[in-house]
């Protein structure tokens, strides 16, 4: 029966680890480059002459 408690505990520990890592990331200003990626998708990299093979 103790295996359940163990699995639950380990799982919650890992989950908590994610949360802490995430909060640390936010606090540490890790998400600095939030400008380039959302803007980059707006530009097409296709060459203007279409329908060529």
């Amino acid at each position: 029966m103790s295996i359940i408690i163990l699995i639950a505990a380990v799982s919650i520990l890992i989950a908590g680890g994610f949360l802490i890592a995430f909060l640390w990331g936010v606090k540490d200003g890790q998400f600095d480059d939030d400008f380039a990626p959302p803007n980059r998708i707006l530009f097409d990299d296709t060459i203007k002459t279409k329908n060529q093979k």
Partner: protein, 710 residues
């Protein structure tokens, strides 16, 4: 850096787009049919293939996996190469994926109509199709990750994370929930029984909503909404935060589908708590979508694409506000088994999934055909008709739900139930008519779109491939001195995959492992015995006809339910139920304690002419059950399979099972003869009567014996 030239393929997105719209029309047409069937039972036509119990799963499977599924694939195969600046990894896999998925859809529709079903909602498809889905899904995954690994853009845009998380989680959900023991070709029994089956099923069911209807569509939103608006997403930071929190929270919420049932209390509370927390990341996504249009609302007035997106995202917000509210136990007491749930899912399905798909199509089809939309006016008409359709669909359902709740829970001053179940049915029927009209309106809008898009395609010329140029990734990536930690994950898709798996896996494990292993969660009742061979056959007919679509087998511990249906259900009653049949909607009354309530002849007459026994009933007729024979050749393998799953039939019982079956069938025939009904003992109706008369009997026997000993 040298620029490399490559081509984006438009053929696969075009195929998926056509399939999406085609199956969408079919799925919605079927939806309109079943909506009218509930108001006018004559529309069941007395034919097995067109009867509600079989057709409703066709509707749900078609709109979820065919319409939305193909919608996801359209968006992924269009956006993923462009976001990563590379063609899809394998064109062959893309084709296998496309044709494989369409074949699965056809097989699903045919097999469901023929009554092949596993009896678990939204996972009804039988084991050979389940395996096919797994294979095609893996092909899709290889193609996604192959593309990611050969990309020319290091950063993984937020939409891609959503696609990855969706792929991983759906794979896991599908495999775990489809664990079943094949009995024959196209027949299997769920590996799990009763409470455990229920928990796995709703863990799957809820997360199918989460990771098939929500996260991939959020990915589409993050690509197509900024593209259509011509401006970047409002907050990229918010998109990262809400992505991680969303996938982390979603996986725990499943038990909110089982509030007040025989599921252990702690699991119910866990589901409720996480469902309420879900409000935050969900609204993060909605606000991020809507705020993207800040300063561009004038465009919304002009552009039909943005109109659809705005209502889609708003409906997402409404549905994800409603969801947590419905997870509160006191609200759920009203909504569960009622039409409220139906309204809730259709706000999501018609509003969020439907309108986002339509917006995407209005944007994408002109692009693919290098032209402008044929008619903005028609698109605007579609928009208004569709919006009206949603409103006309949802409001009658909410109204019906509240009316039926107040009627079902009403007691007279003398302490008797004030209304019969049939009174409630009669009250609700007019609302069913209105709902069906709402659905028809919505479908009419879709047909306008079909016309508009065909005209658009005809006036343009299809751009099969688009040439593009980009520099390859440098081999050794030198991390900038002050890189943020998250970018490390973004550059490593496999790491991301593994992390996502861990995140979603934790949720599943913590909830399921204890219920599986802690015996005390499922008190075994000594009086509960395995089904007899005839009852087992009858149960399979019950499943095959989709009775669970309208009848629950789970009495909640409320005074008005106990007074109406009998003692509330205990977990131990279901230990031999592979699969569980608790149901999720009571269009008809609960059947958990049906056994012994009426004589055999009542059931006999009721199944062929429900209104003769229950005037005003909207239940379909089942004439074929009186013609078709019980498949006694399958008894042996069924008993064998059940024993494999832990049902304690005696050793070698399968050899003599059919003798018992015939004995019991003869007994029922004898009973019917006393009521002047003559029928042969090998007809399916006999098995079904045996099963219905068994329901809830074991626990009644225990109660009467315990009162005797007192």
């Amino acid at each position: 850096m040298e620029l490399q030239k490559f081509y984006y393929d438009n053929k696969i997105p075009k195929l998926f787009a056509i399939a999406c719209i085609f199956w969408g029309v079919i799925g919605m047409l079927v939806g309109v049919l079943i909506a009218f069937q509930l108001a006018f039972p004559v529309l069941n036509f007395g034919i097995e293939y067109t009867t509600f119990g079989r057709v409703r799963p066709i509707h749900t499977n078609a709109v979820i996996f065919a319409f939305v599924g193909n919608g996801i694939f359209t968006g992924v195969y269009y956006s993923l190469p462009r976001l990563l600046k590379t063609p899809m990894w394998s064109n062959a896999l893309s084709k296998i994926h496309f044709w494989g998925w369409q074949l699965i859809i056809v097989a699903a529709a045919l097999s469901l109509a023929m009554g092949y079903t596993s009896g678990k909602e939204y996972a009804e498809l039988e084991w050979p199709i389940d395996i096919a889905i797994t294979l095609i899904w893996v092909a899709f995954g290889i193609n996604i990750f192959g593309t990611i690994l050969t990309r020319r853009e290091r950063h993984l845009y937020v939409a891609i994370w959503f696609f990855i998380a969706s792929w991983v989680t759906i794979a896991m959900l599908h495999i775990v929930n489809s664990f079943e023991l094949p009995v024959s070709f196209m027949k299997s029994y769920s590996w799990y029984a009763g409470v455990q089956d229920a928990l796995v099923q709703w863990w799957y069911g809820h997360n199918a909503v989460a990771f098939f209807l929500t996260t991939p569509y959020l990915g589409l939103m993050y690509y197509f909404l900024p593209k259509a608006a011509g401006r970047p997403v409002y907050s990229y930071k918010l998109s990262i935060v809400h992505f991680w929190s969303l996938i982390f929270l979603y996986i725990w919420a499943g038990p909110h589908h089982l509030l007040y049932t025989a599921l252990p209390d702690w699991a119910q509370s866990l589901g409720t708590a996480f469902s309420i927390m879900l409000l935050l990341p969900s609204w993060g996504g909605m606000l991020n979508g809507l705020f993207t249009l800040r300063g561009a609302w004038d465009k919304v007035r002009e552009d039909p694409v943005l109109k659809f997106f705005v209502v889609a995202v708003t409906c997402y917000g409404m549905a994800t506000f409603e969801g947590p509210m419905l997870s509160l136990k006191n609200v759920n007491a009203i909504s569960h088994y009622s039409d409220w749930t139906i309204a809730h899912v259709h706000i999501g399905a018609l509003g969020w999934n439907g309108f986002l798909t339509f917006g995407m199509m209005y944007w994408l089809i002109p692009k693919l055909f290098d032209t402008k939309l044929y008619s903005k006016k028609l698109a605007a008409t579609h928009f208004w008709i569709g919006t009206l359709g949603i409103i006309l669909y949802a409001i009658p359902m909410y109204w019906a739900a509240f009316r039926s709740y107040f009627m079902l829970s009403a007691f007279t001053p003398e302490g008797q139930l004030q209304y019969q179940f049939i009174d409630v049915v009669q009250t609700v029927v007019p609302f069913y008519v209105l709902r069906a009209l709402g659905g028809t309106l919505y479908l009419a809008g879709v047909l306008i779109m079909v016309y508009n898009l065909i005209k658009t395609a005809k006036q343009g010329s299809f751009v099969a491939t688009e040439a593009a140029e980009a520099a390859p990734l440098t081999k050794q990536y030198v991390a900038p001195a002050k890189a943020h930690w998250h970018s490390f994950i973004e550059r490593k898709p496999i790491t991301l995959l593994v992390l996502s798996l861990i995140v979603v896996g934790i949720g599943g494990l913590v909830e399921m492992v204890p219920t599986f292993l802690i015996k005390s969660n499922i008190p075994t009742l000594s009086s509960v015995k395995p089904y007899t061979p005839l009852e087992l056959q009858g149960r399979d007919i019950y499943i095959s006809e989709g009775c669970y679509n309208c009848h629950s087998q789970m009495i909640r511990p409320f005074r008005y339910e106990v007074a109406r249906y009998g003692d509330y259900s205990k977990a131990g009653e279901f230990v031999y139920d592979h699969p569980f049949q608790w149901g999720s909607k009571r269009t008809g009354p609960d059947l958990a304690r049906e056994g012994g309530k009426y004589p055999d002849s009542w059931h006999f007459n009721h199944m062929i002419e429900p209104v003769s026994m229950s005037p005003g009933s909207i239940m379909p007729t089942y004439p074929w059950l009186y013609e078709k024979q019980i498949d006694i050749a399958s008894t042996k393998s069924k008993i064998y399979a059940m024993r494999k799953l832990g049902v304690p039939y005696p050793k070698n019982y399968e050899a003599v099972a059919n003798d018992d079956l015939k004995k019991q069938a003869d007994g029922i025939v004898e009973n019917l003869r006393k009521d002047k009904i003559n029928i042969k003992s090998d007809k399916q109706i006999i098995a079904l009567i045996a099963y219905l008369q068994r329901l809830g009997k074991d626990i009644k026997a225990e109660q009467s014996s315990s009162t005797k000993t007192q």
